[in-house]
Amino acid sequence: MNERLLLGRSIETGSWVHKLDARSKLTGMLLYVAVILLSDSWLSMVLLAVFSITIMASTRIPLKYFIKAAKPLRYLMLFIFIVQLLSVKEGDVLWSAGSFSLHEGGLRLAAFSVIRMLFLITFTALLTFTTTPGKLNQGLEGILAPFKKLGLSPDRITLMISIALRFIPTILDESQIIMKAQASRGADLQELPLKEKARMLVSLLVPVISSAFRRAQDLVYSMEARGFRMDAPRSRYHRLRWGAADTVFVAMFIIMGVAVALL
């Protein structure tokens, strides 16, 4: 069941963002990270928000999907907010009780951190929502291609990533079944004292790892039987095509970056 919720789940709507070259989306993503780091005023935050939400909306994927993507990290964000709020003692005092005080600078930094994190996560989700893992990998391979001269093998890296993406959900699913099997024999992780938990974890890991190795062996057989050889030449069905839309897409991020830097 997990398989449906996890990594690399693209949501097809056929929007212009979906049709972009994966390389432009990856480049855009890198630029976006720079934009986020450069944004340090309320005005740039507003600009960032308008920019991000516009692009998200243009994918025609409901916004709630993006919000869901950030949900697992809500406690971390809350924690960061509180720590920043309490520790930064700059700017006007907003509220104080004895030696304890909250400052305007603290509130600002805390809010910025959370907003940055929120946008970073939701925007990364945009990448996986609009790009199938295969295309993403091909894009990554394209971007890494120049590194071939440095002795780095992009094919290997992307093959590794694609196999990991393919099998992580399967192995998580299986771990869940194994956990249920152990719980059925009285070893429920949730109901046990801490020191017993460690022992139970071992009982979980042995079958999970041995099964992962079995899967790996099967996969190797299956790949070799289909004639796969590492570093052998391959043709491509989906070719990367950099169009005008891609140039526009990347340019938007550059303009955004310049705007934020100037603010």
């Binding site: 893992p133 399967t170 057989y221 299956s222 289909r226 004639g227 796969f228 030449p233 043709s235 070719r239």
Partner: protein, 286 residues
Amino acid sequence: MNKAYQDVENAGGVLAVIQLDGVSFGYDPEHPILHNISVSIPQGQWVSIVGPNGCGKSTLVKLMNALLPKSGGEITICGHQLGEETIGAIRQCIGMVFQNPDNQFIGATVEEDILFGLEGLCLPYAEMEERLRTYTLKLGIEDLLAKHPGELSGGQKQRVAIASILAMKPGIVIFDEASSMLDEASRDELLRILQGMRSDGQYTILMITHDADEILASDRVLALHGGGLAADTTPQALFRNAELLEKCHLLEPYPWRLARELQSRGIRVDVPASEKELIDTLWPYN
């Protein structure tokens, strides 16, 4: 096609697409897993490989395309003698469908999985597109191209695996217990696919199986036992040989068993093709 292969064809002899001569496998020469197996399989034949678990069935087929290294003997596939430099050519001749539908799904989507092998063959775009269309239609999975393995049933995943392999146009297709993790409906479907492949005429099929219906549908049975070839026979002869069935951990199909039970009670009937035929035979005047 290489010369030796053509010579056989020209000589008008029966073309053996798989030729094993004294093949052995094992890391310990004292206790080989497979010992001195010789067999010759002509083009177009559908062969069942049976035997108890652990008798080396799966090992034997994996030797044929060098997924495992043989320790002795000669293997010739489609005229290529198996060796370091022919592995690539031989793997192009042999397609393999494995037992676990999940572990042979390489791509993240159905389309990617089928393309994995085609891209490895360095085919041009138009050829890939053509094969993608042909074989997804053939296996009835044309609507599933964008699906992830997690969204497919076991039977659908096996059909994807078969499409991925047939799209590479192998002459030999090996099914390694491909139906044992499927439910009944998916098993029936697989059997129909196999029957379609046989009537196609271009495939030599090797199938490791315990399933009586699958064995009955095939042309020939190789029974392995204790690392050796225990019998090279027909499905009908296998199911009449109680001793061999026992040795291979197989059970006869229900109609065969019923006919045998009736015969032992003095009712002489042949194996009925259907319940109606049995009734018509036993009570012709009703």
